[in-house]
Subunit: 196 residues, 2 copies
């Protein structure tokens, strides 16, 4: 069971992804919970305080919503919200400590001598990252990006990215965020058979 | 009177700069204390916690020792230790809050759309910045640079930069730090009259 490092009380919250279906009824899927074996979920074992993490993320963190071409998705684009922290390899240990703090994410090579902690699973963003920074707000203007990011994550958790209106709303948010993403506006739902 | 934000008990410490003199006796100068009129010295009024500041500096801070040519100094070079935080202009307010937190420093334009908080006065570095980060250590490898920086500040506060050995020691430290500085080694004390 995921536990939010902020003890936000969201640790036992179930994560529901609402997909659309042709009958117009909501289809509720419960995602499997991530096993704890890999990540100790006691954030105290990281040796990092909540305030330190907020300060560090104010300096180095990035909340990003990528929109990548993917013909296998409904609108031809895949929306990928991600929380990323990049460090020089000499501080890879700090990235592992941050992974321990959040209890999720993957540390991997970024480019050249840089490594990153990347939290990309919607489940983890919704239940861990977003509640933490809602309870412990960033002090820099990065908080504006975070609020847009949180909005996108919540829309996606409700399956809104699968509707025309929701997709365009998310695309608008993404285009306004820190690392500029070109705004993609879909005019109508494509027909799978004709590709239109 | 300067007050260390970490309440290190150094707030009332006097700052002594020991210069050399031809008779070989130590000359003790007491530097004037900075008036408080400009900077509120209650760090709580910044709204920043100590841990947040440490985290932010782990991400964004820079401890730097510049060695610039200056023919008016004893060895022809001026040593300038500085603590710098750079932010995009949208976060200039955060720099002012950090200045309030430390109770010293100057916020000014850096380049293009970036601004910086710069603490350069040896008095402030010795009595405020160094004690704060000694009491609240950085968690990244930046702490290695900080320790060298603190060593340089202490050597300078004892006037060691005015001796051949001290100058070369500081130059060695500076060349090993984050932003690489070419190591300058002085072989002998120049004679003012001949310029040798």
């Amino acid at each position: 069971m995921l536990v939010c490092p902020a003890n936000c009380g969201t640790g036992q919250q179930k994560f529901n992804l609402q997909g659309d279906n042709p009958q117009g009824r909501r289809k509720i899927m419960t995602l499997p919970q991530r096993p704890n074996a890999e990540y100790p979920v006691n954030p105290n074992s990281s040796g990092l305080s909540k305030d330190w993490v907020v300060g560090f993320v104010d300096g180095e963190g990035c909340f990003h919503v990528a929109i990548n071409k993917n013909p296998q998705t409904k609108f031809g684009y895949q929306i990928i919200p991600e929380f990323v922290l990049v460090q020089h390899k000499r501080d890879i240990n700090l990235l592992y400590r941050l992974r321990t703090f959040f209890g999720c994410g993957v540390v991997r090579k970024n480019k050249e001598e840089r490594y990153c902690l990347r939290i990309i699973k919607l489940e983890n963003l919704l239940n861990v990252v977003v509640p933490f920074f809602e309870m412990h707000p960033l002090k820099s203007k990065k908080n504006v990006d975070f609020k847009k990011f949180a909005y996108v994550v919540k829309l996606m958790s409700e399956g809104k990215h699968l509707t025309l209106e929701g997709f365009n709303e998310i695309s608008k948010m993404a285009s306004e965020m820190n690392r500029k993403v070109d705004r993609i506006k879909i005019e109508s739902t494509p027909c799978k058979n004709t590709g239109i």
